[in-house]
């Protein structure tokens, strides 16, 4: 593979001025085109910060972030991001919320009016894949927390981003819906030419979905280890009950426990 899509080199990020919180320090990470990377680590270690650095929402005080061959100095436009807490706009219906990125992203905003029907059909298809068929006309505050998260996922996908950043997208979901959405993400990754970075606290989720699991240290966060996931694709949910799978989950669990204790 040629140059990686995302390349983070020796990055330090401090919040709130020189005396503020050092969130990440000496961060190094490469994500290849088409790869699925999962990021795990103790709470507050800088995982969300890593996502925001990659999308250009924060600019690091030192080190370089390179996405698609150019250094990130402002928000990059090729990403879709689902944030930790779903931030739906309460005055728009769920469908209108999902269409929001199309009104912003350069590539789509000029085509939106002429191709409105196509885009709406696409949004409705997305809603159907996440199990929200028929909820497009509802307002976000009429949906449950888990339903909002699923709508949030649709919003991240609607403009077909090259790089998808998911920050704990399944946090508020029950086990069954969660597994269902794992399969949605898995199939999306398999069928499209998309690179995905997923932050999660669920180690089984990370091993099931990712090509590579990255473990971060406690704050200030840096990468302490990378594990290539050996299981073949396409993966089925049965994998969750195989000994090799659980062994890997256990190993990751041990590493994070040590990282927490070291803090």
């Amino acid at each position: 593979m040629a140059t990686p899509l995302v390349s983070i080199e020796n990055v330090d990020m401090r919040y709130g001025g020189p005396e503020g919180t050092l969130a990440v320090s000496g961060l190094d990470l490469k994500i290849n085109r088409g790869e699925f990377v999962a990021v795990v680590g103790p709470s507050g270690c800088g995982k969300s910060t890593l996502m925001k650095l990659t999308t250009g929402l924060h600019i690091p005080q030192s080190g370089t972030v390179i996405v698609a061959n150019s250094q990130v100095t402002k928000p990059v436009s090729i990403v879709g991001m689902a944030f930790q807490n779903p931030t739906m706009l309460p005055w728009r219906t769920t469908l209108e919320n999902i269409l929001l990125p199309l009104e912003i992203v350069e590539r789509h905003r000029h085509r939106l009016r002429a191709h409105k029907a196509d885009y709406i059909a696409k949004a409705e298809a997305l809603l159907e894949t996440v199990g929200l068929k028929g909820f497009g006309e509802k307002f976000p505050w009429q949906l449950s927390g888990g339903m909002q998260q699923r709508a949030n996922l649709c919003r991240a996908l609607i403009h077909e981003p090259e790089l998808l950043m998911l920050d704990e997208p399944f946090g508020a979901l029950d086990a069954f819906t969660r597994e269902e959405l794992w399969c949605v993400i898995r199939d999306l990754h398999a069928s499209q030419d998309v690179t995905i970075a997923l932050v999660t606290h669920d180690l089984r989720e990370s091993v099931f979905l990712a090509d590579k699991v990255v473990v971060m240290s406690a704050r200030p966060g840096r990468i302490i280890s990378e594990h290539v996931v050996p299981f073949e694709r396409p993966r089925q949910l049965d994998l969750l009950y195989e000994p090799a799978f659980n062994e890997m989950v256990q190993k990751l669990h041990g590493e994070i426990a040590t990282a927490r204790a070291a803090a």
Binding site: K52, T55, G56, L57, P75, V76, S77, V79, M81, F83, N85, T87, L89, P90, W91, L100, P101, E103, I104, V105, E106, F139, W141, Q142, H159
Partner: protein, 271 residues
Amino acid sequence: MTTTQIAPPVATAPKPAFKLNWVQLSPVLYTIGLFVIWEIGVRLSGLPHTIFPTPTRVFEAIVQYWSPIWKNSLQTLYTTVLGFIIAIVAGLGIGLFIGWSKTIYAGLYPIMVGFNAIPKVALVPILVIWFGIGTVPAVLTAFLISFFPIVVNVATGLATIEPETEDVLRALGAKKLDIMLKVGIPRSMPYFFGSLKVAITLAFVGSVVSETVASNSGLGNMMASAQSNFNVPLVFAGLLMLAIEGIVMYALMAWVEKRMTGWAHRSTMSN
């Protein structure tokens, strides 16, 4: 496994055919009560009409002087609403401008507060020097006194966008203008419509104050001249008309607010 048939819920007891809705009636009842207490209090104390007239005497005055009262009420309503409309336009414009950036907000806010601290009554003489007495200073006073709450509310709505929401749009490459159009302005609308209720009441204060000191028409002027003739019932009649206009306009603004920003009252909409 046995399946138990669940009986259909028994129909609830039939509602009594006639039941008073006390909550809905209470504003009327309380108002009547207020007038009754007023009437009895004045009669018992034996105060003359020239000091504190009874409500019946005030209503008599309303009937007796209906033509001037009606004319002056319309005039006051006209100056107030005109000043209020200018305040809406200017308030929205200045509010959007101030809320646009944190720097403008920080720089202009103290100036606005200082301006608001000036008693607007003190400006009436200046307005009279510039525009003469009559409708114009009344409209301008209503405008000056009512546009501040609109500005503050619109600006605050814009300046307090949640950083997470802003991040969602910025991550998509949104410009400042996009963020304002898609989030800032819709978000500040509940603040804006909420401020209209405050602003309309203030607008009445402004126009009446100006009419009292510098006009030949309007309820303020009517009350001032009634007072100099010791026609106290007519003064009270003017106050009553002002109260009625104020309540009607307030109710109208509350209705508009509810219509335009239903999503902000979401908990009350679910039932």
